[in-house]
Amino acid sequence: MIQRINPKARHDAYGSRINRDHSPLRATIVPWVSILLASLLQILPVATALPILPPLGLMMLLGWRLFQPGVLPVWAGFPLGLFDDLFSGQPFGSAILLFSLAMLAIELIERRLPWRSFALDWAIASGILTAYLLAAVLFSGAPPGLPVAVAMVPQLLLSLLLFPIIARMVAWLDRLRLRRVRVVR
């Protein structure tokens, strides 16, 4: 008697492999679009008297860079920072500089620690986010002082705690990015 064939035999994690393949366009575009949308989200839903929303554009960038190296080139900080600057309210150039520096910093860290656990990735992202928020306050032109520093604390804590969720979103987007689509030949 012939055994029933395993229904998953012709599948991989991204769908059936028969007449289906990754879409090159989608594989390239999903990381960029998701980071741009995250930057845009900064002005959409809330209006607040003190800064509370985490720097979502940077967090998305860190997520893609740390969990899927090779998807974004080293120079990605420049165009993504440029877009973020248009909407963030920071002086123009602040995100260009800081995003670029973040990408270079991860490049250096990656040379030392090529294999990382999630906890280590989270720690790296926490360090970069803390440095980013401090630098952003300095660059914003606000006179540095205790009130500004105190107002920063909730935003910083929220950013650090939100990072695992961003990581899950990046993982989901990565499956979407490599989903196999029909190829007609």
Partner: protein
Amino acid sequence: MAPSEQRRSSYSRRAQYGVFTGYVLATAGALLGAALLALSLWRPDSFSGPRNVARDTVEPAVQATAAGRAEGKGLFDTIGGYFRAGSQNAELRKELEIARIRLAEAEAVAQENVRLKQLLELSTSEAEPVAVTRFVGSSAASSRRFGYIGAGRDEGVEVGMPVRSPRGVVGRVLEVGASTARVLLLTDSQSVLPVRRPEGDVIAFAEGRGDSLLRIRLINLGINPLKKGDMFVTSGTGGYYRPGTAVAIVTEVTDDGALAQIVSDPAATDYVSVQPVWQGETVATAQIPVEQAISE
């Protein structure tokens, strides 16, 4: 995940040059960013053009989410009302709060009237607002406090015009796009507003602190007359804001003034009106350097 093999050096000249070019581009990007940052700190309005175009482009989406925000907030208020003592409670409380603000404003207006009558029939007619629009959002992630409103050059909004909500002063227009404008909120660390307390005529400056509070700095130093719960209104000095609009309530008295909470919290603001500059001539005159004569 481990880095891809792409970055490791290989015998391929092309791959090596590719990696090298990537680093050069990234460094050049960072340097260019630093230069742009220095330029925009030196001249804050250098890049207002691209920013305005970008904001005008996303305006429809922002309008939609702003409507959702207002409705969502209303929904939460209603649910909160049931938890306390029925849905009316929340509404009545809001009305009472506005009534209190109005009372303080009325007191200020009455006092203003007395003074103006002494100054021989100066007209105090309320000006028509330039535009009534939705407060669509704020720079929620930056430590500078900017708000965005859904009216711009097309509606006649100009730089410097005061923006107010039904509760009180929100801020001042800083940049104008075709259909949106950027507003400097009162809580921004570079915002300074001349204010006064109606009872006793205490004159002060309200400075933003970068968090959600304002710092009230008295002009006449001496015994600090402020108490918790004092209401400050605009004084009209400087010519931008019409006198007698509610600004802030004192929450904590300090040695040289007080800390005050803004009356019109951006998070609770839905519709705002843009008003003309109160004394345009005064403002224009104030911008002429001292060396230059005002009259011909």
